[in-house]
């Protein structure tokens, strides 16, 4: 069997485990050095998902209830690519987010903003043959959190992705352009490299904006790994 070994991310493009401005990292980050491992079959393989894992309205968060959710309807789309810019077809993309008032439909969310009976805030889709995905949703709201006095998270959508193997697994957050909270958010600013942070901010997109219906936002995602130069793995 053949499997490609992946290169390491350039310095500054991934956060460290410990980032004290995000207070929850202080007791949840390892103090011992991580042990560097060779890439074995156990990490280069991973679960494979198919269309049977996806429901009919899973990519349209505005059609999961009897009525329409309150909020600004948006279309979020983009491509899932490897580090060389090759499309990753069949990648499972999962998303979750607040409603337009900044409230999660989740038992531990104590924010005093209203729930929306017509909005759950989760979705999933498989990328097509060109690595493309597309969600219809409403724009999430900002919300307060307990990290520091008067702390507010900028509006964001959580993204979870499964690529070709475990080392391509990615969980990230997509932000919105022009959000005044972005410079103050410890989660976004845990990424040292400014260009890498900017790649977490979606782009407003006229081409996917549907006249009279919904604004389009573009967000491409690059998963670790590349297709080139597979090496022989003894099996």
């Amino acid at each position: 069997m053949k499997a490609a070994s992946y290169q390491r991310a350039p310095a500054g493009t991934q956060p460290s485990y410990l980032y004290p401005p995000y207070v929850s990292t202080c007791k949840r980050s390892p103090k011992q050095p991580l042990i560097l491992l060779p890439h074995t079959l156990s990490e280069l393989t991973g679960p494979v998902f198919g269309h049977s894992d996806i429901g009919e309205n899973d990519n349209d968060l505005t059609r999961q209830h009897s009525g329409e959710p309150i909020g600004e309807r948006i279309i979020v789309s983009g491509r899932v690519l490897d580090e060389d810019g090759h499309a990753i077809p069949g990648a499972l993309v999962e998303v979750w987010q607040t409603n337009s008032a900044g409230r999660y439909r989740h038992r531990v969310d104590q924010h005093g903003a209203p729930l929306d009976p017509n909005f759950t805030g989760c979705g999933r889709v498989l990328t097509d043959g060109e690595g493309r995905y597309r969600f219809v949703t409403i724009k999430p709201g900002a919300y307060p959190w307990q990290n520091h006095p008067n702390a507010w998270r900028p509006a964001h959508i959580h993204f979870s992705l499964f690529g070709a193997g475990l080392l391509s697994r990615l969980v990230t957050q997509m932000y919105f352009p022009g959000d005044p909270l972005l410079p103050f958010d410890p989660v976004l600013n845990s990424v040292p490299d400014e260009s890498a942070r900017n790649r977490l901010i979606s782009l407003f997109n006229w081409e996917t904006t549907v006249p009279g219906h919904a604004l389009g936002y573009h967000f491409d995602i690059v998963l670790r790994g590349r297709l080139a130069t597979p090496v022989e793995v003894h099996a």
């Binding site: 350039p10 991934q14 956060p15 485990y17 980032y19 995000y22 929850s24 007791k27 949840r28 980050s29 390892p30 011992q32 991580l34 042990i35 560097l36 491992l37 060779p38 074995t40 156990s42 393989t45 991973g46 679960p47 494979v48 894992d53 690519l81 580090e83 060389d84 810019g85 999962e94 998303v95 979750w96 999660y104 439909r105 989740h106 531990v108 969310d109 805030g121 989760c122 979705g123 999933r124 959580h158 979870s160 475990l166 697994r169 990615l170 969980v171 990230t172 957050q173 989660v187 976004l188 845990s190 990424v191 890498a196 790649r199 977490l200 995602i221 670790r224 793995v233 003894h234 099996a235």
Partner: protein, 190 residues
């Protein structure tokens, strides 16, 4: 022209909303060959406090040492071993899942690895996941495992499941994750 991988961000405390549908605590459906084991444990932070908002993703080979993607085209009428599961910790920071003991899979150097389960841990406060492994007790191949050999001997016990010792629960194994501090679990980088 290459682009670095997109930066990781925390799953936050509300991942249940988007991740619940892939949750499973039993990968050992009737008809799947292999020795049944149940693995239970808890996730602890640097204060020794339970972590009630973590999610484990586990990935393992079948009892013959094959990963599911390698034989997805085989007889689809047989019970399918997915090899993957997602388990949330509960309010006490505890988790439990039932599976089969995996077989041995190859190392890059051509030797066989000892049976193991790969665990990827996500939680609030983790800006990127922690990756570790579960190994099995009373397994002679542990001594020759190429990955374990890279771990200082005094830290290897953090990767070893132990028998619960409870009467009538011979297949019940304990394995905890300590995110930080005394007895900190060995985490891997790739």
């Amino acid at each position: 022209m290459t682009t670095p991988p997109t930066s990781s961000q925390t799953v936050g405390p509300f991942f249940h909303l988007g991740m619940v549908y892939l949750e499973s605590d039993n990968f050992a459906a009737e008809g799947i060959p292999g020795d049944r084991v149940t693995i239970r444990g808890k996730v602890l932070d640097g204060d020794g406090a339970p972590v009630p908002d973590a999610v484990l993703e586990v990935w393992q080979a079948d009892s013959a040492g094959r990963y599911p993607s390698e034989f997805s085209s085989q007889n689809s009428s047989a019970p399918r071993f997915l090899g993957f599961g997602r388990i949330e910790t509960d309010d006490k920071g505890e988790f439990k899942f039932a599976t089969i003991k995996p077989g041995r899979v190859p190392s890059p150097d051509g030797s066989l690895q000892a049976p193991h389960i790969v665990v990827t841990l996500f939680s609030r406060g983790l800006l990127k996941p922690l990756r570790t492994r579960i190994y099995f007790p009373d397994e002679s191949s542990n001594a020759e495992d190429a990955v374990l050999k890279l771990v200082p001997p005094e830290r290897r016990p953090t990767l070893m499941a132990t028998r619960s010792g409870e009467r009538g629960a011979e297949n019940l194994l304990d394995w905890n994750i300590v995110m930080q501090g005394d007895g900190e679990t060995v985490f891997f980088d790739y």
